[in-house]
Symmetry: C2
C-alpha cells in the first residue's frame, strides 16, 4: 500500500489537515485564540518518531485491514499523536523542563513571550496557564480527530474501548510515576508498574491493540499482538532507563545522567539498590534527585551500577523480553510486510542509542 513507504509523512499529512481545519473553525469564532492554536500545531508538526501510529498501522495492515479503510485508519491512529502532545506538554510543565527537541517547552515559550512583552503578572504563571490549556486542547482534539475518522460506525465503535483504556492508562501511569518519586518507593516492582502503564501499555500494546481491532482481527490474533506489545514495551522502557544514565549526550540530546538528576525511579536503579552493598547503595541514593550532580559523580554512579550487576541484569532482561516478544509476533501470524516491519521496529526500539 502507498502509505507503507512513508508512514510518518502520511501521519503528518492527516495531522496537518485536521489541525488546520479545527484551527480555522475556532479562529472564525475567536481570532484571539491564534497563539494557542499555532502553538499546538507547531508542537505536533515539529516532528517525532510517530511511534504509536506506526505500531497501530502495522497491526491493522498485518491483521488484514481493508484497503478502502486506509485513510480512515490513518486518521484514527494519527490522533494518538494528539494524546501524546497533551502528555508531553503537561509532563514538561510538571517536570519544569526547559526544552524539548531543541526548542523551549510550551510553558517556557509563553513565559518568555510574557517577559518580552512586559505584560502584567508573573511570566511563569502565564506560561503555566497556557501550557495547561494547550495540553487540554490537544486532548480534546485527540478525541475529536478519532471520533471524526471516516470509518464505518461499527469499526470505530469496536475500537473505542481500546481508545478509552489507553487514555486512562497513561494518566494512571503518570500519577503513579509522580507518586513513586514522591514516596521514594525504591522497589523494582514499583518501577515495573510505572513502565508497564506508561510505556508497555500506552506506547506499544494499546496502539497495536487499536490497529488490530480496527482491522476486525480475531481474538487469538489480538491476544498475540498484545503480548508482543507488552513484552516489547517493557524492553523499550528498560533501554530508555539505560540510555537515561549511560546515553551519549551527543546522540540522546539530553545531558549525561539526566535521569539521575531528576531522581527517576527506574528498574535499573531499583536493581542497583537491591544488589549493591551498603557503600555502593549510598553512592546511588546520594546521586538520585540531586540537580547539581557533576559529570564525575555521574561516572561514579555508572561504575557502581555496573559493579552491582544491575546493568548486565537489565541487558539480560531486555534480551529475554525481546525474545518472547518476537515469539508472540510469530504467533500473531500477520501478513507481510507487517511482520517484518514490526520485527524491525522491535529491533530498533530495543537496540537504539537514543
Amino acid at each position: 500500500m502507498d502509505h507503507d513507504t512513508d508512514l510518518p509523512g502520511h501521519v503528518e499529512r492527516v495531522l496537518a489537515r485536521f489541525l488546520h481545519e479545527s484551527g480555522a473553525r475556532i479562529l472564525a469564532t475567536e481570532p484571539g485564540f491564534a497563539s494557542g492554536v499555532d502553538s499546538l500545531t507547531e508542537f505536533v508538526l515539529r516532528g517525532g518518531k510517530r511511534l504509536r501510529p506506526t505500531f497501530a498501522w502495522w497491526a491493522w495492515r498485518g491483521a488484514g485491514g481493508e484497503d478502502t479503510d486506509a485513510e480512515g485508519v490513518l486518521q484514527a491512529v494519527a490522533s494518538l499523536e494528539l494524546v501524546q502532545a497533551c502528555a508531553l506538554i503537561h509532563d514538561d510543565l510538571i517536570d519544569s523542563s526547559g526544552s524539548r527537541r531543541g526548542r523551549p517547552t510550551v510553558h517556557v515559550a509563553f513565559a518568555d513571550l510574557h517577559t518580552s512583552q512586559q505584560w502584567s503578572g508573573l511570566p511563569s504563571s502565564y506560561g503555566l496557564a497556557m501550557a495547561v490549556l494547550i495540553g487540554d486542547l490537544a486532548l480534546a482534539w485527540a478525541d475529536d480527530m478519532f471520533a471524526a475518522a471516516p470509518l464505518p460506525a461499527a469499526t470505530l465503535a469496536a475500537a473505542r474501548p481500546v481508545w478509552r483504556a489507553m487514555r486512562t492508562e497513561v494518566l494512571a501511569g503518570q500519577c503513579l510515576d509522580i507518586h513513586t518519586q514522591a514516596t521514594g518507593d525504591a522497589s523494582p516492582e514499583a518501577a515495573l508498574r510505572v513502565s508497564r502503564l506508561k510505556t508497555a501499555a500506552y506506547t506499544v500494546e494499546r496502539p497495536l491493540h487499536l490497529g488490530a481491532v480496527l482491522a476486525g482481527a480475531p481474538s487469538a490474533q489480538v491476544a498475540a499482538l498484545r503480548e508482543f506489545g507488552r513484552e516489547l514495551g517493557t524492553a523499550f522502557q528498560l533501554r530508555d532507563d539505560l540510555l537515561g544514565v549511560f546515553g551519549d549526550p551527543s546522540v540522546t540530546g539530553k545531558p549525561a545522567g539526566d535521569d539521575l538528576r531528576e531522581g527517576k525511579r527506574t528498574l535499573l536503579i531499583a536493581l542497583g539498590l537491591r544488589q549493591a552493598g551498603p557503600a555502593q547503595a549510598e553512592v546511588i541514593t546520594a546521586a538520585l534527585g540531586n540537580p547539581a550532580l557533576s559529570e564525575k559523580e555521574v561516572d561514579q554512579v555508572r561504575a557502581t551500577l555496573r559493579e552491582a550487576g544491575a546493568v548486565s541484569a537489565v541487558e539480560t532482561r531486555i534480551d529475554e523480553l525481546t525474545g518472547t516478544a518476537l515469539s508472540a509476533l510469530r504467533q500473531a501470524k500477520l501478513t507481510e510486510p507487517a511482520t517484518t516491519a514490526l520485527a524491525d521496529l522491535a529491533a530498533r526500539a530495543t537496540q537504539r542509542t537514543h
Copy 2:
C-alpha cells in the same frame, strides 16, 4: 417524565455510576491510581448546580425528545459535568485558588497530603502534577461518557459537532481570559468576547444546542434556542460580574470584592473605566489586581462604579438581554413543561444573589 422532578439527582446518579464503573476498571489494572480516581469522583459528586446538563435536558425535552432515549440523553448531558470538572480543577490551579465549595482545591489538597506525609520534593510541585493529571482524567472521561451514552448511533453522531465546538470554545475563552488579564486590555469589547465564549457559549448556548440536536429539532427551533442561550448567557455573566464586586460574602461564599483583587477584566470594570473621570478611573485601576485590597478600598471602588453609571448600565443591559432571551424562547415553541422550566432558569440566573 420521572426525571423532570429531580434532574440534579438523576444527573448525579448517572455520574456516580459512570465514575464507579470507570474507576473499577482502571483500579483492577492499577490499584495505585485510587487517590486520583477518588479525588475526581469526590470532586464531581460533591455538588454543584448541574446547570449545563439542566439546560441541555430541557432543550431536549421541549424539542420533543423520545421517552425511550431519556436515560441515554441523561448520560450524554451529564458528561458536561466532567468537562466542567476539568475546567474548574485546572482553573483553580491557574488562579492559585485555595478553596472551592468550602473544601481545599485539588492542587492544595494534594500539596497538603505531601506535607503531612513528609514525602520528598516540593509539596506544591506534587499538588500541581496531580491537579494537571486529574483534570486531564476528567476531560478524557467526559469524552468516554459522552461516546458511551446508550443512544442510537445517528443521534450521537448528530450531536458530536456541538460537543466538539463546545470543548474548543471553553478552552479558547479561558486562553483569551488569561491573555486579556496579562495584556491589561481594558476594553468592553475584550470583556464581552471572553464572556461570550466562557459563559454564553459554553454554559448556556451549547448545552441547549446539544439537547436540541439530540432531540432532532428542526433548524429554526435550534436557532431560536441558541439565540435564547446567547442572550441569557451574557446576562448571566453580567450578573456574575456584579456579584463579584457587590455580592454579599455570606451568600456568595467568596470574600467581598474578590474579582477586584484578582484583577478580573469584566464589562462592569470596562464600563467603569470608560465612563469615569480621570480621578475615578485611577481609583478603579489602582484596586484592580491588588491582592491586599482592604474592605474600605473595595467600598470606594463600589461607590466609584455606581457614580460613573457603570452599575446602572450593566443592570439595564441585563434587563435588555433577559427580554430578548425570553422572546427567543417563545419563538422556539418548545412543549411544556420545558418553556416554563427554562424561563424559571432564566429568571434565577439573572436575578440570583450567588
